[in-house]
């Protein structure tokens, strides 16, 4: 095996320069992590890699993506090492075309089409109307409809694109609650996505754009309350 040239000062992942000293290497993080051992990795090793300047090896490894960024390791760390920041930064430093799975494609789709799955506006509006009619006529919620772009509504609500795409009836749970509460609410006809995959792919810029759209809706529709996307 080649000797490793350690250069902690040159690291891309390092948040604080004294890190190599801060971590006690106690392994508390690894002990509490459900995926310790997968690919012979664990949070302690990931932090050692970052501290020792093995950035690229960590960025290229699967571990930052198998990690769910649940934060249990970081909460237990006696030294307050910001393990999550390192993991997310490692994700962000992957070439975008090497981000595993659909999340980066979803971010690009969302930026272009307004939702992660590229559902067209006409299909979306028709679906909402169709589901609303079922509730109004068949399911005991007479007068129910989905207010779209309703100016002056109290509550602005985003939508998780997986629901109109694959589980449309699940949207009715909230709708029934709004009906019972006689809430004044609305959704947007475009850019209605509530899932911000930039959070997961490590893409701050895209994340900010997508958050900004929600702010724009609040302004444009003069709503007073935002229901945070779950």
């Amino acid at each position: 095996m080649e000797p490793i040239a350690v250069n902690p000062k040159a690291g891309k992942l390092k948040v604080a320069p004294e890190w190599a000293d801060v971590c006690f290497t106690c392994g508390t993080c690894a002990g509490g992590c459900p995926v310790t051992g997968v690919d012979r990795m664990d949070p302690r090793k990931a932090i050692r890699m970052a501290a020792l300047g093995l950035d690229q090896d960590l960025i290229d490894s699967r571990f930052p993506w198998i990690c769910t960024m649940c934060g249990r390791c970081e909460y237990a760390c006696p030294q307050g090492v910001e393990i999550l920041k390192v993991m997310r930064r490692a994700r962000g430093l992957r070439d975008r075309d090497k981000v595993p799975g659909p999340i980066h494609k979803g971010v690009v789709m969302c930026l272009e089409k307004g939702n992660n799955l590229g559902i067209p506006k006409d299909d979306f509006l028709f679906l909402l109307a169709d589901l609303a009619r079922e509730m109004d006529e068949e399911e005991g919620f007479p007068g129910f409809y989905v207010p779209v772009d309703k100016k002056g509504a109290n509550l602005f609500v985003t939508i998780n694109s997986k629901e109109p795409f694959g589980e449309p009836d699940d949207m009715k749970f909230w709708w029934k609650i709004f009906y019972a509460a006689r809430e004044s609410w609305t959704v947007a006809s475009e850019n209605w996505e509530g899932v911000n995959w930039g959070l997961f792919s490590g893409d701050d810029e895209a994340m900010k754009t997508i958050v900004g759209r929600i702010v724009d809706h609040m302004e444009r529709l003069e709503c007073s309350t935002l229901l945070l996307p779950e």
Binding site: P34, V35, V38, R62, W65, I66, C67, T68, M69, C70, G71, R72, E74, Y75, A76, P100, G101, P102, I103, G106, L125, F126, A129, D130, A132, R133, G143, F144, Y145, P147, V148, K150, L155, K162, D170, K172, F173, W174, K176, I177, Y179, A180, A181, R182, S189, W197, L199, F200, S201, K208, V211, G212, V215, M218, S224, T225, L226, L227, L228, E230
Partner: protein, 190 residues
């Protein structure tokens, strides 16, 4: 922080804040007797531990209170709150191609659910719900039902009927909106 002015100008609420407000103020009413089975809460990392760290408030008590309004018997999983275990589908893992690793991750949650004796597990997060319902339950052959917390509330609702006047007004608003958006449900589109 991005858009700090938003928090000044608008009220920003989580699903828990809103459901709790509706229940506390009596804007919605629920019937507990619909859910009699032992019910537990899966705590999403983002609403609990990570929210505590990022915003100084973890949503630990709110979901428990909401569930207790809708269910006769609430049971805990251990460990919980700040030491809770992730379902295994968080942080985008649900969408990753590493299925085997994701299911392996979930074994801890599967054991916690079994040990709790619950027959109904409440998931207040889309991602957790999918991991629990579509992977953990079938893979570990758990005999439990999974519901979103808003699904639990919706299923427990006692809806006070709208008046004729309310219905008429809503239908007028709806018709105006559909005309504006060019929606005609009787036209064959699909």
């Amino acid at each position: 922080m991005w858009y700090p002015e938003v928090f000044e100008k608008y009220k920003v609420v989580s699903v828990f804040d809103l459901l709790k407000e509706y229940l506390e103020t009596g804007r919605i009413k629920v019937d507990k007797s619909i859910h009699t089975e032992p019910t537990t809460l899966h705590e999403p990392c983002n609403y609990g531990r990570k929210s505590q760290k990022a915003f100084g408030h973890g949503y630990f008590e709110e979901p428990r209170w909401i569930i207790q309004q809708c269910c006769e018997e609430f049971v805990e999983m251990y460990p919980n709150r700040m030491n809770q275990f992730c379902c295994g589908g968080g942080g985008g893992a649900w969408a990753m191609p590493y299925t085997e690793e994701r299911i392996f991750y979930g074994r801890v949650k599967a054991k916690q659910i079994m040990d709790s004796g619950a027959k109904l597990v409440i998931a207040p997060c889309h991602n957790c719900r999918d991991q629990l319902m579509k992977s953990i339950v079938p893979e570990y052959q758990l005999d439990v039902e999974i519901k979103y917390i808003w699904e639990l509330v919706a299923d427990s609702l006692i809806v006070e009927p709208w008046s004729e006047e309310e219905i008429k007004k809503a239908r007028e608003e709806r018709d105006a909106q559909y005309e504006r958006d060019g929606i005609d449900l009787d036209e064959e589109q699909w």
